[in-house]
Amino acid sequence: MQIVRALLTRLATTLVTLLGAAIIVFVVIRVVPGNPIAMMLPPGATDADIERLKTLYGLDKSIPEQFWIWIVNVAQGDFGTSITLRQPVFDLVIGRLPATLELSLIALVIAVLIGGTAALTATLYRDTKIEGGIDVAGGVALSLPDFLWGLALILVLGVLWPLFHISGRVSPSLGFDFHSNFFLLEALLRLRFDVVFDLLGHMLLPALALAIPLAAIILQLLKQSLKECMHDDYITLARTKGYSETSIITRDALPNAILPTLTLIGVQFTFLIGGTVIIERLFSYEGLGNMAIDAVINRDLPLIQGIVLVFALLFTLVNLLVDMTYAALNPRLRHA
């Protein structure tokens, strides 16, 4: 009963959040200068032509009126048609979403692996030069935003030592025929490891660019929590039992130190997803973010709205997931 109520409350807040995001985007993209009509017509179009097109797309109505029409359609599953691509927005977004999801998740995994390992190592070698070195590396990682890391990676690992692909999602030369848009997942399930390898080779640099700042944040917070835990009594007691420092850190300290980091990862992961917009552009990766930039440049209003709505939905889902994991990991919350 309690769970049902909690879920309903959650669903309601999610809907309110999505509606808020929809309103803001809807109004903002109509208030800022520039409109899709100007992009579509050749120079020298007559006023009558402009008016005709405006009526066609419903842009002659007031903003509240336009919003009402749009939201009623969305509620029925109709997200409209892209002005530039002339395809249903829903199909376009669903087609691109898997690429972005796969990239974000790979980036998240990389960030957790790097940040977590660094934090554990720094705790193991606390108060030594090794911890100092890790701190410095973390500081450097944090001082640059993801897109600058992207440029640096392209320069070093794409141009100077061309070890990885710097553009696209998969090598066309492979001639692999995908049935879904979850390329990585599909290749894994079909056991085509050559394709998996190629996909990862394409994803590594953009994912790394997204992961580096997040890894540094994970490092800092997790190390801090771990070091605080290391003073706790149960750690001292574990020491008298004959365990090595490594197993004390990973088995006794880590489960207690990880909770604040988990919350932070949730919040930061939404930033990471936001970061895909620029990173995908930088690496010509055919995801949702790349499409979002095109949509904005072309003032493709229905497409922008659809993409933003999907991003908003993604953010609320991530938050929900974090809350659920938190409750599962913290025994003190489980019975509350």
């Binding site: 108060d127 706790d232 009594d233 149960y234 001292t236 007691l237 574990a238 020491r239 008298t240 039992k241 004959g242 365990y243 090595s244 197993s247 006794d252 489960p255 207690n256 990991l329 913290n330 025994p331 003190r332």
Partner: protein, 288 residues
């Protein structure tokens, strides 16, 4: 034959300030020795030095620790750690913080048996069940599946006692194990420790500042002041006729139940001054 034998143990802060000054003491197999002194006298520090859990700011600078005839400080770190884990155990001061909040009770009792001593898990769990019964826990199976926050302070201390006896250590160091508990629970826990010690015939080093407890539990005691042994004697001899002036004053300062309204009497200043002089003279000798 002493199970634990400490000779000239010296522990200093990193800046050289001594915390323990050439402490020597023995605990025989099956013997209960109390370690008494004021706060900061170094009582707990001795236990920590033996168990290898000195705080990072402190360093062992001299002396030997023989556990079961083996020189602990001569062993390489890993072997020392495992030897201590197998032969000695700690009953900690505060049961509310000494259990890992995110792990179940069962594994916290059995992990040493499985990981260090190489027992099979079912055997270790059967042993944990037995131990929890021994410390008078009503439903051991349920408790083993519980998390620490689901148990009361007294229950948690019982669990910690069971855990300390898990590997059949022949030395238990109890670091003020009742200080953090309710007065009513204190008595039960004290009785339980005594009971377990007798049944398992372990040597017990009992750290306390409560002389009332000392008379109930121990056969011998060591009085410390500023990390220096002031008196080392049998319990009967101590309560009948303490030798050192500081011991006498300490004994006189113990509040008595027979005189509930009597004002608390601190150790007199001139006695403190005398014992401070003694420590200073000892330091001068030690640094030569």
């Amino acid at each position: 034959m002493s199970y634990l034998s400490i000779q000239d143990l010296t522990v200093r802060l990193r800046n050289g300030l001594p915390l323990l000054r050439k402490v020597s003491l023995d605990v025989k197999s099956g013997e209960v020795r109390a370690l008494v002194g004021e706060s900061g006298a170094g009582k707990s520090m001795i236990g920590k030095a033996v168990l290898g859990i000195l705080p990072r700011a402190a360093r062992l600078t001299g002396g030997t620790i023989l556990l079961d005839g083996e020189d602990l400080l001569a062993l390489p770190p890993k072997a020392r750690r495992q030897r201590i884990g197998a032969k000695a155990a700690l009953i900690p001061q505060d049961p509310l913080t000494a259990l890992n909040p995110s792990r179940r009770i069962g594994p916290q009792i059995t992990d040493r048996l499985v990981d260090i001593l190489g027992w099979k898990r079912p055997e270790a769990e059967a042993r944990a069940f037995e131990l929890l019964e021994e410390v008078h826990i009503q439903s051991p199976r349920r408790v083993m599946k519980s998390y620490p926050h689901e148990l009361s302070g007294g229950m948690r201390q019982r669990v910690l006692i069971a855990s300390a006896f898990a590997a059949e250590p022949k030395l238990i160091i109890a670091d003020e194990p009742t200080t953090a508990l309710d007065v009513t629970v204190q008595k039960q826990i004290l009785k339980l420790i005594r009971e377990m010690q007798e049944r398992h015939q372990t040597a017990l080093l009992f750290v306390t500042h409560d002389l009332g407890v000392v008379s109930k539990i121990s056969q011998s005691l060591t009085v410390l002041y500023a990390g220096k042994v002031i008196e080392d004697t049998g319990v009967r001899a101590f309560f009948d006729a303490p030798q050192h002036a500081y011991s006498k004053a300490l004994l006189a300062a113990t509040p008595k139940y027979t005189d509930p309204d009597g004002s608390l009497m601190p150790v007199p200043d001139n006695i403190i001054a005398a014992v401070e002089r003694e420590v200073a003279a000892f330091d001068a000798q030690m640094n030569e």
